[in-house]
Structure formats: structure tokens, C-alpha cells
């Protein structure tokens, strides 16, 4: 029986999700005392007609909006400076990030720049160095996320900023803007969410509030990912996946990164594979490792994964194993429905075997000491080969 102990939790985000959600933005901006938002996005999003939808949503509100759609895939600080000038010269008083990934990273950093001073921006990189809240920040995500959009983190160049003030005030998930670039990005978005949520749910920092966010995320990915891949027009499913990504980001902001996250990010950086794909591969192995190491609350994972009936009908000592098996099955399904485009093992992801040791060493050397180097190596080896760990 799990009892909540000492913990802290914070999530300032208001979620607004579903039909006609975009049209709520003018109202919500007014509640944030903002009258002239700057929309930050990229050419891809504009081309897909989402900027036009956004403008339509503002009709009848009497609001003037600024639109900047030149965010590149790899943005730099130069761009942040330019955007802060646009923000100031255009007398904007709120930022709306329309899209995911680098768009959101830039938007968050610009928000720091305009609330503080752009010159001292570098000094604010790090953990919790911002002392006061930033300007109003709205996120309108698509289905091409990195998993950090709703989190307290943002990355630019070699800098990482971390502060609860970076979390959006409002996340608007509208079925009309929830689009995906490709099968891979859909899977990557969903799997980061699943991995983060699963680690929040089973990790040492488990608490009932992160659980609430994690539970919904796990369930939505499990119930909708395959459906969305086979029927990309399924609106409800896409909506659910973006919700999952948003909620997992909140959970992730309130936990210590787990093994799957640490290794996934490392492999992603070394081999330029989307981190969601890496975490997707590592997920069942990481969970098996947790079961062997301390068992934590892996058995509980079965509830959001399988639903009430199956959870209740499974004997206590088999629950964890069954949860892991569902993850393995999911890997197989993803492999199948995407025409083998989603790797199931590190080998299929073209990570050379001889590098396994290097990854483990690098992760350890870079300061992730929560787990031992042998633990990293063991998980990586199994994930490379696709060999489940023996249950003990």
C-alpha cells in the first residue's frame, strides 16, 4: 500500500483542450493583462495554415498580433536578441509559442530576455536562478514535440535554463492545430511522454500529484498511439497524445530524471536520433531494471496501461511483469504499423555494439551518478540486443 510522504509539487499551467480551444486565447490573454501578443513559430507551421487559424481565432477580439515565423531548427542567441528587439519595438506584452521543439525553446528564452535584460541572459542559465515571474506565456503545441515544451526547462546553444517560471501560463490544445510532421515525430513525441510519465509513476520521487499527471499521460499514449499511426486523421487520438505530452512535461518538472531519461538523452545526443525514439527502445529494459533493483511501484503501472478490469484481475506479483510486457508489445506494434521505421533495439537504431560501453562511461562521467556505471551498461546491453532481463 502506497502512502504519500514528503514531497513538493508545483505546476502553474492551465490546460485548455478540445474543440474551439484556440478561440479562448484572447479571453485568457486579457485575464493575464496582455493586449498585444507576439506569436513565435516557424515556416513549416505557417505553411500548414496554422498561423491563419490562429489569426481567425483572434477575430472579433480587437487585438493586434505580431507574428514571427522564422525560427530555424537550430536557433542561436543572435535570434533571441533579434526577437527581444521585435518584442520591445512592437510593444508586445505576451508570447504565444505556436509549435513545438525549438520554437518553444526560443520563446521561453525570449521571455527571459524581455523580462530581464538580454545582456545578462547567460548568467541566468542554470537551476532556479530567476527570482521573479516572467511575462505571460502561452503554448499552442503541435504533435512534433521534444517532451520539454510544458516543462520548466529550455535549451539554446549550450545553455540550459531551468525554472518553474518557464512553464507556460496556458497550454491550448486544439484539434485543429494538433498536426504531426511524420510517423517518427509522432512516435518520438508520444514515447518521451510515456517514458517520463512511467518514470515519474515508478520512481523514488513518486507522489500522488505527479501521479495524477503521469497516469493520464501513460493512459493516453497507450490507448491512442497505435490508433493515430494507423488512422492519422483520428482527431481525438491526436488530441489525447498532445495532452499526454503536456502532462508528462509537468510530471517531469517535478521529479528527478530516471535511468531511461538519462540514457535516452545521451544516446540521442551522441547518435542524433530523436530522444523519444531512444527512450522508446529503453523503456521496458529500464522498467525491468527498476523491478530488479527495488521494485518501487512498477506494479501500479499496469492500471493506466491496461485499464481497471485487467489490473484488478491480475495477481499482485504478476502486475509489474505484465506492465513491462505491454511495453514490449507496444514496441512490436510500433515496428509493425510503421513499416519497420521505428527501431525496437539499439542495434536496429544503428548504434554500434562497441559503443555501448562508451555511452555508459560518458553518462557516468557527465555527472549522472544516480545509477552505477554497471547499471547503465547492463540496461544498454539488453536494449542493444533486445533481450529482456531475467526476472529475479
Amino acid at each position: 500500500m502506497y502512502k504519500p510522504e514528503s514531497y513538493e509539487f508545483f505546476c502553474p499551467i492551465k490546460f485548455s483542450s478540445g474543440s474551439r480551444a484556440l478561440e479562448n486565447i484572447p479571453f485568457e490573454l486579457e485575464a493575464l493583462s496582455a493586449r498585444k501578443p507576439l506569436i513565435i513559430t516557424d515556416k513549416n507551421v505557417t505553411r500548414r495554415g496554422l498561423v491563419r487559424k490562429m489569426i481567425t481565432a483572434f477575430k472579433d477580439s480587437g487585438v493586434t498580433i505580431g507574428i514571427f515565423d522564422g525560427i530555424p531548427d537550430v536557433p542561436d542567441m543572435q535570434l533571441v536578441t533579434e526577437l527581444s528587439n521585435i518584442y520591445r519595438n512592437g510593444e508586445h506584452d505576451a508570447i504565444i509559442a505556436l509549435g513545438c521543439g525549438s520554437i518553444v525553446d526560443v520563446a521561453k528564452v525570449v521571455n527571459i530576455a524581455v523580462s530581464y535584460n538580454v545582456k545578462i541572459l547567460r548568467d541566468l542559465a542554470g537551476d532556479n536562478l530567476m527570482a521573479h515571474p516572467l511575462g505571460p506565456f502561452v503554448l499552442v503545441p503541435t504533435l512534433t514535440g521534444t517532451g520539454y515544451e510544458t516543462s520548466k526547462f529550455t535549451f539554446i546553444e549550450d545553455l540550459t535554463f531551468s525554472s518553474y517560471f518557464l512553464m507556460p501560463d496556458l497550454v491550448v490544445i486544439d484539434s485543429r492545430t494538433v498536426r504531426s510532421e511524420s510517423l517518427q515525430t509522432t512516435v518520438a513525441t508520444a514515447m518521451v511522454a510515456l517514458a517520463h510519465a512511467a518514470e515519474a509513476y515508478t520512481g523514488p520521487g513518486k507522489n500522488p500529484i505527479t501521479d495524477a499527471y503521469a497516469y493520464a499521460a501513460i493512459q493516453y499514449v497507450k490507448d491512442n498511439l497505435i490508433t493515430v499511426l494507423t488512422k492519422p486523421r483520428n482527431k481525438e487520438g491526436r488530441l489525447a497524445l498532445v495532452n499526454a505530452a503536456g502532462m508528462a512535461g509537468c510530471a517531469f518538472s517535478n521529479m528527478k530524471p530516471g535511468l531511461i531519461h538519462i540514457l535516452g538523452e545521451a544516446i540521442s545526443a551522441m547518435f542524433h536520433i530523436a530522444s523519444g525514439i531512444c527512450m522508446g527502445i529503453l523503456l521496458p529494459y529500464g522498467l525491468e531494471y527498476t523491478i530488479q533493483k527495488n521494485g518501487y511501484h512498477t506494479y501500479d503501472l499496469l492500471l493506466p496501461l491496461s485499464g481497471f478490469d485487467e489490473y484488478a484481475g491480475t495477481a499482485e506479483n504478476l502486475k509489474a511483469e505484465k506492465a513491462v510486457n505491454i511495453m514490449y508489445e507496444m514496441q512490436q506494434d510500433l515496428y509493425k504499423v510503421t513499416g519497420k521505421k521505428i527501431p525496437r533495439t539499439l542495434e536496429e537504431a544503428n548504434v554500434p555494439k562497441y559503443m555501448v560501453n562508451d555511452i555508459a562511461e560518458k553518462v557516468f562521467k557527465d555527472g549522472a551518478r544516480e545509477f552505477g556505471i554497471d547499471d547503465y551498461r547492463m540496461v544498454l546491453e539488453h536494449a542493444w540486443e533486445g533481450k529482456p532481463m531475467a526476472h529475479s
Partner: protein
């Protein structure tokens, strides 16, 4: 910079016009129903004399204003809230939300549950108004549609429903 532009958000004249007509009609129908239907009359009897409420769309309307005059008669008071003292303001957050409500894709209850309507004023009169609008909807709309607009379709006598419907339409159109 070429990537930056400013846009003046335009307007949605047709949607606004539709909502304006609907509000106008519902306002007059409430006035009529308060004369014709006993249940609506009783609902309004609970409200104090001179009580005025408005229902409209944020931020620029359209609106309807209905009030009870000193003699206790319920009157449609037009569509300009500016010069009036309003006791209860019900504001739909945006025109799309109003459209969902007035095309009966969402019932009043669901619309409130989805946080699409703001209230400024006391709750008991707001509920009175919502119940009255519910009854008016049963009068105005065919069963198939009004079933979507309210939670429980009432069992009414033939006379109340059909004669009432004719009288309310008649009064609403003529406006007395």
C-alpha cells in the same frame, strides 16, 4: 525583418449577426414566456422587482438585456448594456462558444461545465434565468433539437406545449 509582421484581427460579421438575431429572439421569447407559461412566471417571481440581467458575448457583444419592471412584468430591454444597471451579467467567452450554444451543439449546462460562460452577480438568480431559458427552449424548438439543449425533456400536456408554442412565437414576433 522579413519574418515579422503585424496583423489586425478582423471580425466575424456573419456569426455575430446570427448570434445577435438569436439573442434578440430569445430575449423577446423570455418576455413572452413569462406571460404565457406558469413555470417561467413562477421562476421570475422569485427575482426582486427591477432585477435586470444580460446575456452576451465577450468582449464586444452582441448582448440581450431582460429585466423585471416595477410592476413585476418581465421585459426585453434591448441590446445595449452600456446605459443600464445590470444585476446579473452572463458573458459567453467568445463568439465561437456562443455559436456552439445557439446552434444547440452544446447545452447550456455543458457550456457552463466547459467554462465557456462567466457570471458576474449572484448564483440563485442565474439559475432561475437558466431554468427559464431551458423552458423557453422547449417551447421554441422541436423536441429533437431541444433534447440536446436541456438535460431532461419535460412531460407536458398537449395544450401547454403546442398552444404555448404558438402563443410564444406570436408574442415574440410581435413583441408584446
Amino acid at each position: 525583418m522579413g519574418d515579422y509582421r503585424e496583423v489586425q484581427a478582423g471580425s466575424k460579421p456573419f456569426k455575430r449577426a446570427y448570434i445577435a438575431v438569436m439573442l434578440w429572439f430569445v430575449g423577446r421569447a423570455i418576455q413572452a414566456a413569462a406571460r404565457v407559461d406558469k413555470a417561467v412566471r413562477e421562476e421570475f417571481e422569485k427575482l426582486p422587482e427591477g432585477f435586470t440581467f444580460s446575456l452576451g458575448v465577450q468582449p464586444h457583444g452582441p448582448y440581450m438585456i431582460v429585466g423585471k419592471n416595477q410592476k413585476g412584468r418581465v421585459k426585453y430591454l434591448g441590446w445595449k448594456p452600456e446605459s443600464k444597471v445590470v444585476d446579473l451579467r452572463m458573458a459567453i467567452k467568445n463568439i465561437e462558444a456562443a455559436l456552439l450554444l445557439f446552434t444547440f451543439q452544446e447545452s447550456t449546462a455543458i457550456s457552463i461545465c466547459r467554462d465557456r460562460i462567466d457570471f458576474d452577480g449572484d448564483l440563485p438568480p442565474a439559475l432561475t434565468v437558466i431554468r427559464a431559458i431551458g423552458i423557453v427552449e422547449v417551447y421554441l424548438l422541436p423536441k429533437l433539437i431541444s433534447k440536446l439543449a436541456i438535460k431532461r425533456y419535460p412531460v407536458w400536456s398537449f395544450g401547454r406545449k403546442y398552444l404555448g408554442r404558438i402563443r410564444i412565437y406570436f408574442h415574440s414576433i410581435l413583441g408584446y
